[in-house]
């Protein structure tokens, strides 16, 4: 018989406001900066005293301490593991950020990327030693061209905005080759565009003008035509657009732009809605980046680097950047310089090099793993399921929330804040309350064309059960807002490690650098 007298039932205490000595809340550990934990005198490794060599720094040697935090190995491990536990990740729950395609990152991708032949590569290894890696780049390039219906792809861009830069530089190079770079200076982009679109165009020396939207949230074709002329360099359009709507007039838009002598850059951020269904090449696209970290399931949002291969049309292909992979007699090699590219083709005028090496190799492995494991039919079904899931969310939430536009959506559902009118609750309060429900908030206040926008992209990864739980949480929040619980919303989040942060103070008086003085302050 157990004689220890230990009670085995639950106690009566409700301990939500118990103050602990450590400041921790059970497994929720308060974590200081590594600078505050460690000391400058301490180090986690023992290095032998270096032999005293003659100082050849010419008087430039450091006079003060370097000031790196000194932590032991266990302290370092705990520090970063604790920080990682405060993070929200797609491996923990739904990540409904619109226009971000936060889909599941399959474990198979990770397994493939860790194969020694891929994981231990060096970009300067001789071509003869990395034939398999080059073949992988070439195979991925083939399928990206196949899925987009485009004749060429630049693999090296490192993320979406970098791919935009690649595409717009190709457009600029093509205009220069035509002798029209001086007069074709205008680029048109819708007001709902990702901010990187106009930023990229300006970076390339263009001026940007808005393409007006019609009342259905799509490009106003007639208004666009009125803005075209012989000073147009091109347009930048996302399809489906950032309102989650398919641009039905896309072919007519492309034709009008081409007729005016301009090029059509398509932002591929929303390719997950149409991959395997629609080939952008058939829509008249001249350049489009593909976010491998969205559509093709490689990690992002803090989980890994982006990767933005950019497909190019016949008209822009001659200006593709180096390096790229070619295959002759079963042997793969890299074309590394503009001169070598020129030797490949008469009309080739490569825009040069965008990156030091060949692109995000680890992401290429993951993206190709995704494609191969899904197959063409699987990629198509993923797109269909992504659109279906978004429409399910739209249909369920519109009973309490207000969709920004009528009708079906593509891969993301967009709501405005009309349903919060006169409740005292704003989009930001709603988003903060979602944190208490255990969700990463949706994209908010974007696109800018919709007041108090809430943009939700569930992706194909979420099951019906998961979507129902999410919709249930959203509907309950909407009802509570309408029932006059504004004060509770203004106080949210209450369960997060930190309560409402002062965004205004963070923007107006940002503290971007830790200084030893702050350590002294924290100790007091």
């Amino acid at each position: 018989m157990n004689n220890q007298g230990r009670p085995t039932g639950a106690g009566e205490a409700t301990a939500s406001n118990v103050k602990t000595f450590t400041g921790n809340k059970a497994l929720q550990i308060e974590e200081a900066l590594s600078f505050e934990i460690g000391s400058f005198e301490q180090t986690g490794v023992d290095l032998p005293e270096p032999a005293s060599n003659a100082n050849r720094l010419g008087g430039l040697d450091r006079k003060s301490d370097i000031g790196l935090p000194g932590l032991s190995e266990p302290e370092t491990m705990r520090h970063f593991v604790r920080l990682s536990q405060k993070n929200y990740a797609i491996d923990m729950g739904p990540f409904p950020l619109g226009s971000c395609t936060m889909k599941h990152n399959p474990r198979l991708n990770e397994k493939m990327a860790r194969l020694p032949g891929f994981g231990d590569l060096h970009p300067l290894a001789p071509e003869s030693a990395v034939q398999g890696a080059l073949e992988l780049i070439d195979t991925l390039a083939f399928w990206l061209k196949e899925l987009t219906g485009m004749p060429a792809v630049a693999m090296s861009p490192k993320a979406g905005a970098h791919g935009e830069l690649c595409g717009m530089m190709a457009i600029k190079a093509a205009l220069e080759a035509r002798g029209e770079a001086g007069k074709r200076k205008r680029v048109l982009a819708p007001e709902s565009a990702h901010g990187t679109n106009p930023a990229t165009a300006v970076q390339c020396g263009f001026t940007v003008e808005n393409i007006p939207a019609d009342k259905t949230g799509r490009v106003d074709l007639e208004a666009l035509k009125a803005k075209l002329g012989d000073d147009i360099a091109g347009i930048m359009v996302t399809n489906p657009n950032t309102c989650g709507l398919f641009e039905r007039d896309i072919r007519a838009i492309a034709d009008a732009v081409h007729e005016a002598g301009g090029y059509f850059y398509c932002d591929g951020a929303n390719f997950n809605a149409i991959a395997g269904k629609v080939r952008p090449g058939d829509l008249g696209v001249d350049a489009m980046h593909i976010n491998l970290h969205k559509t093709f399931s490689t990690p992002h949002g803090g989980g890994g680097p982006g990767s933005g291969p950019t497909v190019l049309s016949e008209a822009l292909a001659p200006f593709a950047p180096v390096p790229y992979v070619i295959c002759e007699d079963g042997k793969y090699s890299l074309v590394e310089t503009r001169r070598a590219a020129k030797a490949e083709g008469e009309s080739v005028e490569s825009l040069g090099r965008l990156t030091a090496f060949h692109g995000q190799m680890g992401m290429f492995v993951r993206a190709l793993s995704y494609m191969m494991s899904h197959g063409k039919d699987g990629v198509r079904q993923a797109s269909e399921d992504a659109v279906l899931n978004a429409n399910y969310v739209l249909a369920r939430l519109k009973t309490e929330m207000t969709p920004a536009f009528e009708g079906h959506c593509m891969h993301e559902a967009l709501f405005d804040d009309r349903f919060l009118k006169d409740t005292g609750v704003e989009t930001i309060d709603f988003a903060k309350a979602m944190i208490d429900e255990g969700y990463h908030p949706m994209t908010m206040y974007f696109p800018l064309v919709v007041h108090g926008a809430m943009l939700i992209e569930p992706t194909e990864s979420e099951s019906k059960r998961e979507l129902d739980l999410f919709c249930g949480a959203m509907l309950s929040l909407a009802k509570r807002a309408k029932a006059g619980e504004a004060d509770a919303f203004k106080a949210a989040p209450v369960y997060a490690p930190r309560r409402r942060l002062d965004e205004t103070a963070a923007a107006r008086h940002p503290v971007l650098r830790w200084t030893p003085a702050q350590k002294a302050e924290a100790a007091e």
């Binding site: 901010g195 930001i428 206040y445 800018l448 965004e503 205004t504 923007a507 107006r508």
Partner: protein
């Protein structure tokens, strides 16, 4: 002198032979806490509708358009140093620029207070 307004939520009023320009109280409220303001250089020339200044809040970044054509004769650097002023007194101390108009007729086409209130109420 009455205050005039544009559909992009700028206001202007005359001050001698120049016009003082800023963003409307309605716009400041919609933006939320303003955290950054970028103003043009004195001497710069704008056509009506040109992007003239930038204002960023915790919610969004917006362009401020020139409501009339003309030359910038003075800018209010106080709001660059303290963007919060735009929320505190958007139609007073937090003016953006003063412009010497090159085509004063453009001013007649702008909305008066009543018309702007109707417009802002419906937008």
């Amino acid at each position: 002198m009455t205050v005039k307004y544009t559909e992009d939520h700028e206001w202007l009023k005359s001050e001698g032979d120049v016009y003082v320009i800023g963003v409307s109280a309605h716009a400041a409220e919609q933006l939320g806490d303003v955290v950054f303001v970028e103003l043009p250089e004195v001497g710069k020339t704008f056509a009506k509708g040109d992007e003239m200044a930038v204002v960023e809040s915790v919610k969004a970044a917006s362009d401020v358009y020139a409501p009339i054509s003309g030359d910038v004769v003075e800018v209010n650097n106080a709001i660059v140093d303290e963007p919060a002023k735009v929320n505190e007194d958007p139609q007073g101390a937090a003016w953006f620029v003063k412009i010497k108009p090159s085509n004063p007729a453009e001013i007649d086409a702008l909305m008066d207070e009543g018309a702007y209130k109707d417009f802002a109420g419906n937008s």
